[in-house]
Symmetry: C2
């Protein structure tokens, strides 16, 4: 709905002391006011202001890649980020690791009655900033309000659209024995930042979420010309889940080398304290890439040339294995299986 | 995530007595199990089974139309439908009324811990059936779980993609004085069905939600060749909000004729009982269309030829009015303003 056309009707939101109430989801004037004073203001663009039930985008240039993610992270604000920028980064990254250029986002907000409007404003500003930095436009949105006690502040579902030029697509089923596994940086920062906040832990060096849009890094990697098979960002379930997914999709085993997997010292310390394994922890600004062996040095150099890939490393290799096992050589020279978690280690991490 | 590749890992869900628990949102095995046994099973298609972070769609045929809606309807099951089919219809309709052909949907689920899996299965089956009937494919999804007391059973955010062939687009700013307003059927059925369920009212003739996918009706209307200016489905805020939106977008007044607006007798009775005005009540299977005067009979005939448009009627006309007022001639011959609601009349209606 285009809102500015109805400006005559409405008084400004009380962004200092106001709270979300049920009328903000009603389809009436209060909703128009919320959209005008908050969403339209920060997300302003020609698509959003079309004001029709659907948004008309230009003709696609290439095949479409689409991805959707509902964000329920708790707490809403955490060291290094908040649900606003996270909801942009998460979906931008899922489109980008397909090798596509993310261009458009939609956003569906489910707000809890009583949520402070000033916190909502912070979240919307953070989303707008993240979208701008990632070069994507928020082209459509929706807002619903649920009664106090039937939600938890704010949930945000984003859907991303990107375009993939003709040519080979990246896919989890393209890995062959001998292919090399690269990781773009340190593991566990996001999950440990959230857990530390929840558990009220503090460290000498504060641990920040790594939440970031990876489409710039991906563009650098694609431009290197390396023969990439697949990229994926290890979010929920961590590197362990992501690598297991790929090993099963491609029907190969994967051997990792613990000594080469970068983990910040403070994250490692926190993991020991909390009984967590960095391999299972969600990341929000890292990707793994698997490429042909002969291109791995080329790809590594490209990744390290980008600010979000400075600590990139070669961390493993695909091997022939009908069981599709993922194994890791520990720092002590032993070998252990890397499995998915069966239960829930870190609820509401994203 | 493609799930079937990991079938070896997992035991079937207990769809009779089981409940959603936090592990179903973990990114680990329990989530894979939920996806395999429920979502993949009912939504099965080649796009979903790609199993990558994003879904690769074929090259677009025309300009893209996108729309998103978060669904928080309460109760989840209501006379004539449920949140599952509603979440498909709502988004399909927003794409269709743009004149585009809806083809793809994404779905983000936010589940509350403790929600019965058998109810979730009913919802997913209903979504799958609605998608099939509407000719759209659910190509990507996401599932999150929040703790009991931080959600309300199930919230579903759908995003729809459709394609619009070259030519004039429909838009709320294209209406000119003299253009004619048509409505595809009775007003208020959805909202009154929900309210009756909530208030435990029963009527001799049960009132059912009108929830339905309108893309077939829209195709019939487009094929008629009538000079359509805009279509829109009067959901939250009802016909009153929709017509006011358009009058302001186009800078015209709109005069409606109450005697010509179809309302079921039982809906009218319920509205009197509940103190509601059918003009403000949400509909989920109706649309309004505005066309050039000379084509209104042609368009009306086309609408009435479709099962979802049998009770279509010409309900008003655009007029010159710098104030963009919407007015209605009442059955008693008077004239009154039709305004948006400022507050919330029917919370969580969709």
């Amino acid at each position: 709905m285009s809102a500015e056309i109805k400006k005559g009707y409405i008084r400004p939101l009380d962004l200092r002391n106001g709270r979300v109430d049920m009328s903000h989801g009603s389809g009436g004037r209060a909703m128009v006011q919320l959209i005008t004073d908050l969403f339209s203001k920060h997300f302003a663009n020609d698509y959003l202001s079309q004001g029709n039930d659907g948004t008309l985008l230009p003709e696609a240039k290439g095949r479409i890649v689409v991805s959707t993610d509902s964000h329920v992270v708790s707490p809403l604000f955490f060291p290094g980020g908040d649900i606003g920028c996270l909801s942009v980064h998460g979906t931008v990254n899922d489109v980008a690791v397909m090798g596509a250029t993310p261009l458009y986002l939609t956003a569906g907000f489910i707000l809890e009655e009583g949520f402070p409007l000033k916190d909502l404003a912070r979240i919307v500003e953070s989303m707008a900033k993240a979208a701008k930095e990632a070069g994507v436009t928020i082209v459509a949105g929706d807002t619903k309000v649920v009664e106090q006690g039937n939600g938890d502040g704010v949930f945000i579902t984003t859907t991303g659209l990107g375009f993939l030029p003709d040519g080979d697509e990246l896919s989890g089923d393209r890995v062959r024995p001998g292919d090399v596994v690269l990781l773009s940086g340190t593991l566990g920062d996001h999950g440990v930042a959230i857990m530390s906040q929840r558990e009220n832990l503090s460290f000498d060096t504060p641990i920040l979420s790594d939440t970031a849009a990876l489409n710039g890094l991906v563009a650098t990697m694609l431009a290197s010309g390396a023969n990439l098979k697949v990229m994926r960002d290890p979010t929920r379930g961590g590197l362990a889940a992501t690598v297991n997914e790929i090993s099963h999709q491609s029907g190969v085993g994967i051997h990792l080398d613990e000594a080469n997997i970068p983990v910040r010292a403070e994250v490692e310390a926190a993991c020991e304290l909390l009984g967590l394994d960095p391999l299972n922890i969600a990341n929000e600004g890292k990707l793994i890439a698997i490429c042909a062996k002969e291109d791995s040095d080329l790809l590594l150099a490209a990744m390290r040339s980008h600010p979000l890939g400075e600590r990139s490393a070669i961390i493993g290799q695909a091997v022939e294995d009908p069981n599709c096992f993922v194994q890791i050589r520990t720092r002590f020279g032993g070998r252990r299986m890397v499995d998915w978690l069966s239960g829930e280690q870190l609820p509401r991490i994203c």
